[in-house]
Symmetry: D2
Subunit: 281 residues, 4 copies
């Protein structure tokens, strides 16, 4: 599916600062960046960084003078997603697990899975099929956590959300990840552009590792699963922040769009009974 995405960001900056941006569409076997442009006004030195693990594309901006910075990113992206049937999926034991995903079993800053073992086990431990487990916990989050703008902040973690039961997409995703890890299912944070998200913004959800695929889940259920353009994955929001600020940088404005660039979009949501999972790569 082709999408046209854009992000406009405004900052007031001072010399001797640095800004790391994480807003570029990721390049993957299933997501092609057809064309893109990135501009900074006034001009400042910027460098694209792709970490070895290939989970994101940072831009590092070296602030060369005090200024009001306008940053603009536009791209046309063509991605497709695979849909797999998990009806017969068996749990994968750690003994068989691909070692490269071990890191997504550990607790992280916002996903304290080590504090949620009993909770996860009590609620979802009896379900044998791992896809069904993640569907169940995603539904539980959707039904029990209130989506409430402004109810949380950058320090809010899964341990808070599981009790306070309110949050935004970031909090929904953190809780989903923490519950997966507590069930020994590797899980990671996913940020992207989202078609039909209202109001338009960056979006966050998560991927769980099931049957050697990273399968996408969105506890907010706010957007069709096939309307996302992936920016990054990581352990949690600490690794995938849209902007990391070092020094005297003041955020002024942000505007995000994600539009279809072709016709015949058929929105895809999970049907609990269908056992079909979607995977970006």
């Amino acid at each position: 599916m082709k999408f046209e995405i854009s992000a406009e960001l405004g900052y007031s900056v001072s010399e001797t600062s640095a800004l790391l941006l994480n807003i570029h569409a990721l390049r993957t076997p299933r997501q092609k960046v057809v064309e893109e442009s990135f501009t900074i006004d006034p001009y400042m030195k910027a460098e694209e960084i792709v970490p070895a693990q290939g989970e994101n594309r940072f831009v590092r901006i070296e602030i060369a003078k005090t200024a009001n910075l306008s940053i603009s990113y536009r791209a046309t992206v063509d991605n497709y997603f695979e849909v797999n049937d998990y009806t017969k999926q068996q749990p994968i034991s750690v003994a068989q697990l691909d070692p490269s995903v071990f890191q997504y079993l550990h607790p992280s800053r916002y996903c304290q899975s080590d504090k949620l073992y009993r909770f996860a086990e009590t609620k979802f431990g009896k379900i044998k099929n791992p896809f069904s487990q993640v569907i169940a916990l995603t539904n539980w989050i959707n039904e029990n956590v209130l989506y409430l703008s402004g109810s949380t902040n950058s320090q809010t973690s899964a341990y808070d959300t599981v009790t306070e039961l309110a949050g935004v997409c970031r909090d929904f995703a953190h809780l989903g990840i923490a519950l997966c890890r507590a069930l020994t299912i590797p899980a990671r944070y996913f940020t992207g552009y989202a078609y039909q998200l209202q109001p338009p913004d960056f979006h966050a959800c998560f991927e769980a590792y099931i049957g050697n695929e990273w399968v996408l889940f969105d506890p907010t259920k706010l957007v069709p699963l096939n309307g996302l353009v992936k920016i990054a994955t990581g352990r949690d929001a600490a690794e995938t922040a849209v902007a990391s600020i070092y020094g005297m940088v003041q955020f002024n404005m942000m505007s995000v769009t994600c539009e279809l660039a072709e016709k015949n979009f058929i929105p895809f949501y999970y049907d609990t009974d269908a056992m079909k999972g979607i995977s970006y790569k």
Copy 2:
């Protein structure tokens, strides 16, 4: 320096479990594993895993039957450390920082640097030389946190330790890391064997990234800095646990040794005025 190290571990295990051990000496340009042996009695299938980032050497044991497991690791290791002078070290801004170390600037499960910015800035922000900053915060931890066995548990984090002011080597290291990151100095957790540690045990301390080197710091000051054999580094203890248990595995016993295998060991500790930092790799 040559060391002979050993670890004996005992577990009661049941079929369908898995065990990840993180007790092998790491192979690095500055640490040569001269010889080593690893045995499991009774025999179970084990696989050595070296993640792409090369920060540790896991052994994954697939539990094939219910048993009392005896695990034995022995090695002779030859390592040397570099000593550099940081007298003239300038802070490295994020704009100049090697992107591969960005990940060690983020908050992690046990190192909530995002909650310690003001604390770190107030106490250590005025110091300009980054080596001096880390020496100062290491001294602060050593002088203010009581080393008290049993005072903390596996959920204790830097945010607790900075207030409760008691802990063990793991807690000292987590606090050191969190304070470094809060000061925009990349820092990572270090586990190893430690010569002269009483009582003998695995040890934890941390490395801070200063002048393109990972420089070692140990807020416990319990052992000479040149008496360590590195096992692993990682974001924090969540990534470098000696043993990660999946399934029905019961810990029974552990015995660790670290002895000199050559003569003329001259213990090396930091002298606050000398500005000389030690680096394993």
Copy 3:
């Protein structure tokens, strides 16, 4: 019902310390202390203190010399409890509530009701009868929280227990209280001797204020509700500790008994359908 209770406590003490004990059976209109004895060996000055609110009977011991202290309390207590039918109980709004119980609506150290509003409302908000609400939340705690000795410590609070789902009687009671207060039902901590508690120990449960009575609830369901001898009530365990230690006092041993002193004890437990609540005073 008549009970014979006893508590033996041993401490190593040093001069210039003080010890506050909260082990005496409370005197109330429904609980008569028939006889009692309290001894300290070696003799130290002790003073009974009954706070104005009449919720407990402290003994303050002034430590006069370094010693191994043996404290012994024995009493025969005759109490009866009222059983009321709450089938037609209406919720009492704050506008009608007795002002003397306002203090039991506020969050306290171990009962952070302010963080549990949404949780309590989601789970129990639809139930209209307040007795049924507290029965429901008591059942929920009993079914979801594992009674596990040693799983918690003196800093564990309701906010931890609602997520970690393990604890001892103290933790069960704190969670019950916090959920009641989150539902605008006044609730307070109850400590006492408990007939048939295995192993013998002091016990903790809680009282909720329903229909102008303090009705007893015990989420542990470990003992018959009519087998308790009340020691104290308070906001939470911070106010009703068995022993508060000031200075160099080392706890050595404790032994508690609670035996029937008459025949024909018919154990009373709540039957969810019966709507009959028990009240000590």
Copy 4:
């Protein structure tokens, strides 16, 4: 000193709600309410409640209809404060302490003194004179915690503030109280009107029990200590909230004034060397 105080509050309310207000000047031996008026527009039933302990004067408003409520309180208050010299003050051991103040030694919702023992002991434990101790900890808070509007919320507690080092008067007071209790000095929360507070608002500080007096301390140092009109004291903000809302009540506006009603006001601040403490009662 005579003060004229006022508070205007606006709420949108719905029937079946209740509102507890805690804005009346307290009547004490040292604070005389010369005249006062309290009006609610439109009229709703209101009842003044003075708890047995005499620490505050609640007004309970029973909401009788949906309305925009305007509440107005005005009073002329004549208070005086005692100034005592604590140069020779000895610590009072718990063995000698007035039992009525024991309750202010316990940890409470926002003042987790049980987590701050080591911190308090390390920083202030060597000081022998209790007045000097509280002066020292008050100065420490003032020098280390940044007064920053909007940096905290109603869940922020002393345990957060001691690490995050930012907050408002409420947070400063909670930390002062927690540190006192950790040092075995009874302490309680104080709310009042404050002359010369900019911008005008209700103020919070704390009282420590020293030498049988409740001595006032204000870690914010924002206002003269002799310019306060006491509203209430309590364990912490949980007990002394300006407004406690039960039901559908929406806060709209608040306006507070505190003016001198006589001449010759000489502002009184603590002079660390003078050892003179001020006490309202």
